[in-house]
């Protein structure tokens, strides 16, 4: 499912290699060897550090493992409970989907816009980049959580500005209103667009300048250049950013954890899926159930990623 584009490109090259008349099987064997040689570190890492814990969590999702003490197998009952008898699970699904669907496009638009603006030689561009990257450097530290709550608090800077514009005296604490608390976390993610911005910058750097020069000679407009040079040439990186931001947004944990003090509040309005997993596993001692939640999330993310890979056939242009 996730490999369609890779398979497609492989065929093209195989045909080329064959036409050259070299002994195909020997070449293939050597290529095989080279491939696995380069892959060795990754394969060791997968075997030793990654795959065991991953499969262990899958096995645990069929148990009543409590984190402490012994456990027994319970069949599918964790999965059944999730679908039939858990109102907070449904809440967390709704919160997470809204977050993914709104924050990812918002963040990527900011990132691409700023990357293009900061990709030109200009006095002090390094400082601008650093400044725009700064919110992301702050990460999800306690200081950011505190600051965010202050900014959107009753007497915060947001209300000072809104108050001056609208003349309304008592504006709410936006973080502590169930109707707006998720919005403030979406804005937090949009504001921390530094990571995709840097990736876009690196991607823009890879586009050969001659393409733009040629387009200018042809008299192509800026918009035309953007859609027929920048976007296609940037598409592998754009695709990467979309896929990774979708995966990242589905797994978003820290923003809600720190801003709500771990509760997902007020009134469960920021109960992200992974925050619910964390609560279930570490605060409520149902690690078996938490594992089932996690693997259900994995299926959802894999579905979304698979869909993106499928669309990528139509708009992502690789050089190979």
């Amino acid at each position: 499912m996730t490999t369609t584009s890779l398979v497609g490109s492989r065929h093209g090259r195989a045909a080329k290699a064959g036409s050259r008349g070299a002994s195909r099987s020997r070449r293939a064997r050597r290529a095989n060897l080279a491939g696995y040689a380069f892959l060795t570190p990754w394969l060791i890492g997968l075997t030793v550090f990654t795959i065991g814990p991953l499969l262990a969590s899958l096995v645990l999702s069929f148990t009543d493992y409590s984190l402490i003490g012994k456990f027994g197998f319970v069949g599918w009952s964790n999965y059944v409970k999730m679908l039939t008898a858990d109102s907070r699970y449904l809440t967390s699904l709704r919160v997470t989907f809204v977050y993914v669907l709104v924050s990812v496009p918002l963040q990527l638009v900011f990132a691409l816009l700023l990357a293009m603006l900061l990709n030109r030689p200009m006095r002090g561009v390094g400082w601008y980049r650093a400044a725009y990257y700064l919110p992301s450097l702050l990460g999800s530290s306690v200081a950011v959580a505190v600051m965010w709550r202050q900014v959107f608090g009753r007497g915060g800077v947001v209300n000072s500005i809104l108050g001056a514009i609208t003349g309304i005296e008592t504006l709410p604490n936006w973080v502590q209103q169930p109707s707006t608390s998720l919005l403030t976390l979406i804005l937090l993610r949009a504001w921390q667009f530094g990571a995709p911005m840097v990736i876009f910058l690196a991607g823009l750097k890879q586009i050969p300048r001659e393409y733009y020069e040629a387009a200018q000679v042809d008299g192509a407009s800026k918009a035309r250049q953007f859609f027929s040079i920048t976007i296609p040439m940037l598409s592998p990186v754009l695709f990467f950013n979309i896929v990774m931001q979708v995966i990242g947004a589905f797994q978003a944990f820290l923003p809600a954890y720190i801003v709500s003090g771990g509760s997902g509040g007020p009134a469960d309005s920021t109960l992200f899926y992974t925050l619910y997993i964390y609560q279930t596993g570490f605060s409520y001692f149902h690690m078996g159930y938490a594992s089932a939640l996690a693997w259900t999330l994995l299926v959802m993310i894999a579905g979304a990623t698979g869909l993106l890979f499928w669309t990528s056939r139509y708009w992502v242009h690789y050089q190979d």
């Binding site: 814990p53 900014v151 690196a202 993310i301 050089q319």
Partner: protein, 301 residues
């Protein structure tokens, strides 16, 4: 630095033949607007830093009581007191964090580039399958693999050392960066390595001579993110490091967090400001490579 001649400089030459004055004025206006826009955005971006800076020099009860950025009363003691507040001083935390972050950067850049080259350019059996597995490893929420992973590292005898935080990076366990590099390498024109192959270069020489130099921007990106994310990784450091002499910056900051039994917001803010300096410095140094990194046109031309 000849490479810096970008579209911005070469552009005016062309339309000048058509409608010189109007276009030139538009361009100048555009640049001014751009500067205004960027500078305006700066305030939104820098507000948190200003807030942190202000809070770090305010007395405890003024941090949350007043919305003003300007302190009514300056308290400068938060910096020296925060520095030595913990069991060890912040210089030790900074050193421990730096060791972990630098080793992680080296590990990630080396191992992820190797794996990405295999996925992007080499042809081998089950490549698609391995690639799908790599993507899948990124999709499992971290918290359900914490305990099994902890048991693996305990079995290896690595608890209370930096090894669990560093060694896996040398084995490309961060799928994010492998995928990132794959996308970059696949964006590179293939004719270069094909030409090299015809000249008799094996995969290793193609990797070293052609692909490696061209992936500098991706490697710089990997280095920036690895440094920052390792620097900020609280949970891993919390679980694997016990002894106070192994404490890192995030653990030192957490110890300054106001708990039920204490209130040291000023010191927390002061040390948060300090902890930003290494990451910002690393970014400033590394991002220069994002400007210079584009020597590809030279080769290609």
């Amino acid at each position: 630095m000849t490479l810096l001649k970008g579209p911005a400089e070469s552009r005016p030459a062309l339309p000048a033949t058509k409608a010189p004055n109007r276009v030139r004025r538009q361009i100048r206006l555009g640049r001014v607007l751009l500067q205004v826009f960027l500078a305006g955005g700066l305030f939104v971006m820098l507000y948190p830093l200003l807030w942190m800076l202000a809070s770090s020099v305010k007395p405890e009860n003024e941090i949350f009581g007043s919305a003003s950025l300007w302190p009514e009363e300056f308290v400068l003691t938060n910096y020296p007191e925060g520095w030595v507040a913990g069991q060890s001083s912040f210089s030790l935390y900074l050193r421990n964090s730096a060791v972990i972050a630098i080793l992680a950067v080296i590990g990630n850049v080396v191992s992820c580039t190797l794996a990405a080259f295999a996925f992007a350019r080499l042809k081998f059996r089950f490549r698609g399958g391995w690639f799908a597995i790599m993507l899948l490893t990124m999709m499992v929420p971290y918290h359900v693999v914490v305990v099994p992973q902890y048991i693996v590292f305990r079995t290896l005898g690595w608890i209370d050392t930096i090894l669990p935080l560093v060694v896996p990076k040398f084995f490309a366990v961060d799928g994010f960066f492998v995928f990132l590099m794959v996308q970059f390498i696949r964006g590179l024109p293939r004719d270069l390595d094909e030409a090299a192959e015809i000249d008799g270069c094996g995969p290793f020489r193609v990797f070293v001579r052609i692909v490696l130099p061209l992936t500098t921007p991706a490697m710089v990106t990997t280095a920036i993110f690895t440094f920052m994310w390792t620097w900020d990784d609280f949970f891993g450091q919390l679980i694997y490091l016990n002894d106070f002499t192994n404490f890192t910056v995030p653990l030192g900051l957490a110890a300054l967090q106001a708990s039920t039994y204490g209130s040291q917001w000023g010191k927390l803010m002061a040390m948060s400001v300090i902890s930003l300096i290494p990451t910002t410095a690393f970014f400033l140094l590394a991002q220069r490579r994002l400007i210079e990194g584009i020597s590809t046109t030279g080769i290609r031309g």
